[in-house]
């Protein structure tokens, strides 16, 4: 177990932005804002979840942290040290010893021609210069850490299940001995019963190694299980953040409330909202879908305190407006069938 006596957080992101220039038929050079002005911090050994739906920018954020995308603005700091936005190969190699990633698709994130052992050996040899036999031993050791035996170690991805492939991906990520692993929807493609196994594994590994997780997900149930803190993103912006229980039990932002209420409950169906007009490009990006919209929403709010360590980007929280608690049951008009 690693112990860190450190003042600065392990990972700190300030003003992170990513804009894509898109050249499509009619729109000559439209700009797509994937991520705008994002701040968050992850403590050593902590677990932070970034939650959002499609278009939220959560995957782009993960890719910027890992160095696969170049930020348009903002900084990423590891242990207080800023990371280069366009890392050279040598810089990437150094960074790989600190930050690793597990992707969503268990099969496509492994080289189909490599056995499980070969995939892990390659990492180990590259980062630690071990001789082939030593590398093989280390690879087998890592694979047992993730619950795979010698038989699976010789197998290729297509001979294994999704859950087993994801275990290989986790072993490969851990092989470089990083301090942070980014998990980009790492359990979303797995069956429910297998998801549970992998979540347990991740929890155990964290206890065992003191590693930190940056968990990207759209699934609030999974987030509740594995994360300590959460950042909710909508259209590239952080709209709420705080401790996981706080945000999920007492969501302050109307979008978070919508997310939470969308979790299926037995016998409860929320009446369908008419299909929204396109989201606006200014002011509060959520206002076209927000049940509480009022005139102030034409200006984009900053992050406003909703409780200790809990903030949301919503004018409702500014003093003098209505209170921040989620609407009463009668307001949502649940339909019990």
């Amino acid at each position: 177990m690693r112990l860190f006596v450190s003042e600065s957080p392990l990972l700190e992101v300030h003003g992170l932005s990513k804009r894509f220039r898109v050249r499509s038929g009619t729109d000559r050079s439209a700009t797509i804002v994937a991520v705008e002005d994002l701040d968050f911090a992850l403590e050593h050994g902590g677990a932070l979840a970034i939650v959002g739906e499609s278009g939220s920018g959560k995957t782009t954020t993960a890719r910027m942290v890992i160095g696969l995308e170049v930020p348009s603005a903002g900084s990423i700091r590891l242990d207080g040290r800023p990371l280069e936005s366009s890392p050279s190969r040598r810089e990437r190699r150094r960074r790989a010893r600190e930050i690793q990633i597990v992707f969503q698709n268990p099969y496509l994130s492994l080289d189909p021609r490599q056995s499980a052992s070969e995939a892990v050996e390659e990492i180990v040899r590259f980062h630690f210069g071990l001789a082939p036999s030593a590398a093989r031993d280390r690879a087998l050791e890592m694979l047992t850490w993730v619950g795979l035996g010698p038989k699976e170690a010789q197998a290729r991805p297509r001979q294994l299940s999704g859950g087993q492939c994801q275990r290989i991906a986790i072993a490969r990520a851990l092989a470089a001995e990083p301090r942070l692993v980014v998990l980009d929807e790492a359990v979303s493609a797995l069956d429910v019963s297998v998801q549970a196994q992998i979540l347990n594994l991740l929890g155990d590994l964290r206890v065992r190694t003191g590693i930190a997780y940056l968990f990207i997900s759209h699934d609030l149930g999974v987030v509740r299980q594995i994360a300590d803190d959460v950042v909710v993103m909508y259209r590239g912006r952080a709209v709420e953040r705080g401790r996981v229980e706080e945000v999920l039990d007492r969501p302050a932002h109307p979008y978070t409330q919508k997310l939470v209420s969308s979790i299926p409950q037995p016998g409860v169906v929320i009446p369908s909202a008419p299909v929204a007009r396109e989201d606006p490009d200014d002011g509060c990006r959520f206002r076209a879908r927000c049940p509480f919209v009022f005139d102030r929403c034409l200006d984009e709010p900053g992050l406003i305190a909703a409780g200790p360590g809990h903030e949301a980007r919503c004018w409702l929280l500014a003093t003098g407006q209505s209170d921040a608690s989620p609407p009463a049951e009668s307001d949502i008009a649940e339909v019990r069938i």
Partner: protein
């Protein structure tokens, strides 16, 4: 007793491969009443999607099925292809998981929606257009004229799935079969689509077979839930029953494995092993290698669906288990 809208009796499906038959579904029987929404829940290999394909007789190369599939009393399994086509156009609407592969990307939305109307029901172009706008209203799209002239690529996944649902409604079906209709959509969109289905049942009395891997999702919408494992139905419960007194150990385990079911920081109750398909199933009860309650007899005997306590479960030890857990 009114006749069931859809009744499957001892339906089995297999794929003929050189040198034998690979089983997919084994002895599946259930009914859907008029205006009833029945959920079919299972993981990979359970056979849930193949059930849908068997009903509409859209099996892959080498697929065969046996047993009766009665829609309003008529056996779909023994119908001729032209007759089947009529049925698929008028009585049954089908919705699949990926809306983008259900629509021709080169066709405008209007063409997609009105093709059936003009070909099967002989409507004129203008009549069909008006009907199409009406269908879009029903799925919550109120700027119909604008959407009709758009192409699928211009619509988001959620919007496109609504269009697909509108298309399924075009023939005024009595039954909708939806195979994982919300799996590729955002969770907020999913909630909206589920609401549309609920409204369709309430306003138009449309019955539905809702196929999903998400037990909680099924419970939010469906009146009854059937759980499938390795090609068989292993549990049939009402919506309330599935969480309060799940019968089959597999259902129980599924309920326990959901991340939201656990308490933060504690390990989730896990089902060891991986879900199996009918062709890979071991002898006896297919679930026995993973079952916490497995006994000697479970290795050799195949359990049949037994009615118990308002539901039905296919488990040899169901009575013992219930007594032990005092459910």
């Amino acid at each position: 007793m009114t006749q069931a809208l859809l009744a499957l009796k001892a339906v089995s499906t297999w794929i003929e491969v050189d040198g034998g038959a690979k089983p997919i579904l084994i002895d599946v029987s259930f009914e859907i009443g008029r205006g009833e929404i029945v959920g079919l829940v299972g993981e990979s290999g359970s056979g849930k999607s193949m059930t849908a394909r068997t009903i509409v007789r859209s099996l892959p190369e080498g697929g065969r099925s046996s047993g009766a599939i009665l829609l309003d009393g008529e056996d779909l399994a023994s119908m001729s292809v032209p007759a089947l086509r009529q049925v698929r156009a008028r009585k049954v609407g089908v919705i699949f998981q990926d809306p983008r592969s259900a629509v021709d990307p080169l066709w405008k939305i209007e063409d997609h929606l009105t093709e059936g109307m003009r070909v099967h029901a002989g409507r004129s172009r203008d009549e069909a257009r008006v009907e199409a706008i009406g269908l879009l209203e029903q799925v919550g799209i109120h700027d119909g004229p604008r959407r009709l002239s758009q192409y699928p690529v211009q619509l988001s996944g959620g919007l496109l799935q609504r269009v697909v649902i509108a298309g399924a409604l075009a023939g005024n079906p009595e039954l909708i079969i939806a195979d994982e209709p919300t799996t590729s959509l955002d969770v907020t969109t999913q909630a909206e689509i589920v609401a549309i289905f609920s409204a369709l049942r309430r306003d138009r009395g449309i019955g539905m077979l809702f196929i999903t891997h998400d037990l909680a999702l099924a419970a939010s919408l469906c009146d009854r839930i059937l759980v499938m494992y390795a090609g068989r139905i292993v549990d049939a419960q009402s919506r309330d029953g599935i969480f309060s007194r799940p019968g089959h150990p597999y259902t129980r385990a599924l309920v326990g494995a959901r991340p939201s079911a656990g308490t933060r920081g504690e390990r989730l109750a896990v089902i060891p092993g991986v879900p199996t398909s009918a062709s890979d199933a071991p002898g006896g009860c297919a679930f026995h290698p993973r079952c916490a309650f497995a006994a000697e007899m479970c290795k050799s005997q195949i359990p049949a669906l037994m009615p118990i306590d308002g539901g039905a479960s296919a488990c040899l030890r169901i009575v013992d288990i219930r007594e032990t857990l005092r459910v």
